[in-house]
Amino acid sequence: MRFIFLTLLTAIVVVFLNPIAPFWVVMIAIGALSALVYPNGIGGFLGGGLGMGLTWLGQSIYLGVTTGSSLPDRMGDLMGLGSGMTLVGITGLVGFILGAFSGWTGVLFRIMLRKTPQNVYKG
């Protein structure tokens, strides 16, 4: 549940924050978000990753389709990657990796702050 929540929140952050902030600010925000939502480690990793990766993927597909621009193909060719579709995939992948490690870092940060329960069996 928390993982899905994190995914959605991350997507919202990318949609609204990313246009006015560079990617590394978005990474910090995802980390903070992940610490707040506090899913488990895998949830943080996948939630941040899918949130950012899918949004970047969606945004690049949206721009490519709505503009009908030849630029993705031209860029794909220039970078030796063939077509623009490959670049869509790479954009999504880079978004996923950046988001995933940010999300995971956020969860681990929260875990680090968590007080270790002591004297559980005491008294």
Binding site: N18, P19, P22, F23, W24, M27, G31, W56, Q59, S60, L63, G64, T67, G68, S69, S70, L71, P72, D73, R74, M75, D77, L78, L87, I90, T91, V94, G95, I97, L98, F101, S102, W104, T105, L108, F109, I111, M112, R114
Partner: protein
């Protein structure tokens, strides 16, 4: 453990963020490039998708309206000239900023700053031939003499800079993103630098090659193979013209001692063959509607983003439209409500070289007459990406900079040559265009041209009042016969230029009897012109084709002019091919391939249409024949120029048994026929290979016209294999990399009718639908409507923007 996990993953995250933010080798930072909100995906948006109704532009005296027609051509309506040029700078930068900057970086010798040491030699050459020095002199000249023009140039720069200041990462040109740098601020100096860059692109000299040839061939041999006037001269200014002025006397030294070594240094880069242009104007008496018609098509390198950017610029007192140069003010080739003008390059030897004798190794003084003159040093600081700053010391004499010396480009350690070039002298070309833009008649046009220095141009003219004219304008040195054709001795004061030809003595004509004026980079005048005129690269075919067509045409319409601009009749082939076929005789008569090609050549009508095979065969065969004839020249091992194709064809035709055709290194005596046969054999070999590898050898497929991005290895931003005809020496001079960079036709009736097109698009963004959308139109010989618009006109509007 939890601390370790956190810091470990944090470290990975930070490392990832850093890795994707920094360039790795030639790969730009990945994340900023791919980020859909800031990276290249943002460049998929076209200008109409980003349109805004209102934008802020500071320092305006009043609101400025910018109306974009459906082709993204901006029509700027401003209250005064200051606002107009401020808005021109802003609007041009919106669409062409990267290109403007890139071109001025090249002109300033600063390419190494972002591509690294690979461009260092190029940058050194640019600096050493004094382009930056020339731009500084130009700025100083305008500061001292023309504060009004300077104010306009600074307003333009302010417009560009306001755009740069508000530029977000998302809107940055994709080239900046790939090459990973940001624009720096624009300045008046950069505008002047751009105009100097045009000079560099269009001006050549062959002093080095002629010096060598004179040594090799002797005076007589040189004059025979390289006559200064062709036998069939069809000059720009009609031959009948009577020169009604008394020329300034020029004293030729009694005895001339040219430096007489054979020289091995590398010549300066020359304008690439095929760089040239056509313009003409026909008088009302030759046109169907009785209105003058003017046409212009400058031929330059075909590049994307295009060198040209179309615009209309209007104030309450004038409205001008046509092709602008991003970075320069006003329209360069265009028309207003009263006049139209067009430019072609007026090739004339404007660069001379002087051999400098230094007193000693310090090079602090050089010999001049009986004295030693002090030289000065100019330190060029060249930043090199990934390396330390390179400091290059260039020595300046009163002649100009010493381009080649012991530190640069010279295989011989003892040669020092100073370059004298009008580009180094203060001038104000920008004022010419500002004045031309608002000229109302021939008088205004002439006064505007008086400010024009370099690169010399043939300014064609037509007006609503019915005048047509042509003036060859530049700052031309007064030279005695053959002065500047060869290297000169810089120590001899008699070798100096003796002043400049007064503007009013520059070749010009108004309303000639023949009813038209025209120029195609040919000889400007016939031999009766009282000043010495020399250049190696005058055109001999386009001009004759153009003038013969204009002579025979009557009842001319704009449609006829379109046909003429797109005319791809190969006059050289029409003159040379029958001779070559005749000289070939029965050579290879039994070879079926030879027979097939010959049949195609015989049935060819000499038009280089894209589907023609004859043109392909002729182009290979003739170049192989010319190559075979002049091979021994090439093998001498020092830089020389070869006799031009006109001269070669004349020799083939008139003296096929001349001793010039004999190859000295072989036994026996060769004649023209031997070269024609050898050339034909080479054609067979080349065609066999081509047919095997490529198959189709129709002309368009063979010449592969390419409109190349300014960064040559950005191949996918180029447009390749454009299906279009034409070629070098034809009116439609579209070769593989050069051709009509802008075509314009204007009929100057009560309502001005104008059409134009260029091989590119208004947008400099490779992701925009306006990036290359004119290319198919251009390739088919079609045009866009270029009529002047009023602010009230609501037709075909893409969007409007108010600048406040």
């Amino acid at each position: 453990m939890k601390y370790v996990s956190f810091f470990l993953v944090l470290a990975i995250s930070i490392s990832l963020a850093v890795i994707v933010s920094i360039p790795i080798g030639q790969i730009p930072p990945i994340a900023p490039l791919l980020d859909p909100n800031h990276g290249f995906w943002q460049n998929t948006l076209s200008e109409d998708q980003l349109a805004r109704n209102e934008m802020h532009l500071a320092n305006l005296n009043g609101p400025v309206e910018v109306v974009y027609d459906k082709n993204l051509i901006p029509h700027i309506f401003a209250g005064d000239e200051l606002d107009l040029y401020r808005a021109q700078g802003y609007v041009t930068a919106q669409h062409r900023l990267w290109q403007m900057e890139f071109q001025t970086m090249a002109a300033a010798g600063r390419i190494s700053e972002f591509v690294g040491p690979i461009a260092l030699e190029l940058d050194r050459m640019t600096r050493r031939k004094g382009l930056t020095y020339g731009a500084e002199m130009g700025l100083q000249y305008i500061q001292e003499n023309d504060p009004e023009t300077l104010r306009l140039i600074e307003a333009y720069a302010d417009g560009v800079n306001q755009y740069i200041a508000e530029l977000s990462d998302a809107r940055l040109s994709v080239e900046y993103k790939i090459l990973n740098y940001r624009p720096e601020s624009w300045s008046a100096y950069k505008t002047l630098l751009l105009l100097k860059y045009m000079s560099d692109m269009l001006v050549g000299d062959r002093d080095l090659e002629y010096t060598n040839l004179r040594k090799i061939l002797g005076e007589a041999g040189l004059n025979r193979l390289f006559p200064e006037f062709p036998s069939e001269n069809d000059p720009i200014i009609e031959a009948e013209k009577v020169w009604d002025f008394t020329p300034v006397p020029i004293s030729k030294p009694d005895s001339l001692n040219y430096p007489d070594e054979t020289l091995l240094i590398n010549p300066l880069n020359q304008p690439i063959e095929g760089t040239g242009s056509n313009n003409w104007a026909v008088a009302g008496k030759k046109t169907k509607n009785g209105n003058p018609i003017l046409a212009n098509d400058p031929h330059l390198s075909l590049n994307l983003p295009s060198l040209w950017y179309a615009m209309q610029l209007s104030t309450p007192t004038h409205s001008v439209k046509g092709a602008t140069l991003p970075g320069a003010l006003g329209v360069i080739s265009g028309f207003n409500e009263h006049i139209a003008w067009g430019v072609t390059n007026a090739t004339k030897d404007a660069r001379d070289w002087y051999k400098i004798t230094f007193q000693d190794d310090t090079r602090k003084a050089y010999k001049y007459g009986n004295e030693w003159r002090q030289s000065s040093y100019r330190i060029e600081e060249i930043k090199v990406k990934g390396q330390e700053v390179f400091l290059d010391t260039v020595i300046y004499t009163h002649h100009g900079p010493v381009v080649y010396d012991r530190t640069f480009g010279s295989e011989r350690q003892d040669v020092n040559f100073a370059l004298k070039w009008t580009v180094h002298m203060g001038s104000n070309e920008q004022k010419t265009f500002i004045l031309l833009n608002k000229a109302k008649n021939f008088g205004d046009y002439n006064s505007a041209l008086d400010y024009y220095t370099s690169p010399a141009q043939n300014f064609g003219f037509a007006s609503v009042s019915g005048d047509i004219g042509m003036r060859i304008q530049g700052k031309f040195p007064l030279k005695w016969t053959e002065q500047g054709k060869f290297f000169m001795d810089g120590a001899n004061p008699q070798m100096e230029w003796q002043g400049y030809i007064p503007n009013e003595h520059n070749p010009a004509t108004l309303n000639p009897e023949r009813g038209f004026v025209s120029s195609s980079n040919q000889h400007p005048v016939d031999p009766s012109y009282p000043y010495y005129v020399f250049d190696n690269s005058y055109e001999h075919y386009r001009n004759r084709r153009l003038n013969s067509r204009l002579r025979e045409m009557e009842q001319i319409t704009v449609e006829d002019m379109k046909t003429l601009q797109f005319d791809d009749f190969n006059l050289q082939a029409a003159e040379a091919l029958p001779v070559m076929i005749n000289l070939l005789g029965t050579h290879k008569v039994d070879d079926p391939a030879a027979e097939k090609y010959l049949q195609e050549l015989r049935s060819w009508d000499y038009f280089a249409d894209p589907n023609q095979k004859g043109q392909t065969l002729y182009s290979i065969w003739s170049s192989e024949v010319f190559e075979s004839i002049w091979r021994e020249f090439r093998e001498i091992g020092v830089p020389v120029v070869l006799p031009n194709s006109y001269q070669t064809v004349e020799l083939l035709t008139k003296s096929p048994n001349d001793s010039i055709f004999d190859i000295k290194s072989t036994e026996g005596i060769e004649t023209a026929a031997d070269h024609v046969k050898r050339g034909f054999d080479s054609l067979l070999v080349a065609m066999k290979k081509w047919e095997l590898e490529e198959g189709d050898y129709s002309w368009a497929n063979f010449k592969k016209t390419t409109i190349q991005h300014l960064v040559p290895n950005f191949n996918s931003f180029s447009v390749t294999n454009v299906y279009t005809g034409g070629g070098s020496g034809m009116l439609n001079a579209t070769g593989s990399r050069h051709g009509a960079s802008w075509r314009m036709i204007v009929e100057l009736g009560p309502e001005i009718e104008a059409i134009g097109v260029y091989p590119g698009g208004q947008s400099g963004n490779p992701g925009s639908k306006f990036y290359a959308n004119f290319i198919p139109i251009w390739a088919n010989g079609e045009y866009l409507n270029f009529n002047l618009r009023t602010i009230e006109n609501q037709e075909d509007i893409l969007f409007k923007t108010s600048l406040k």
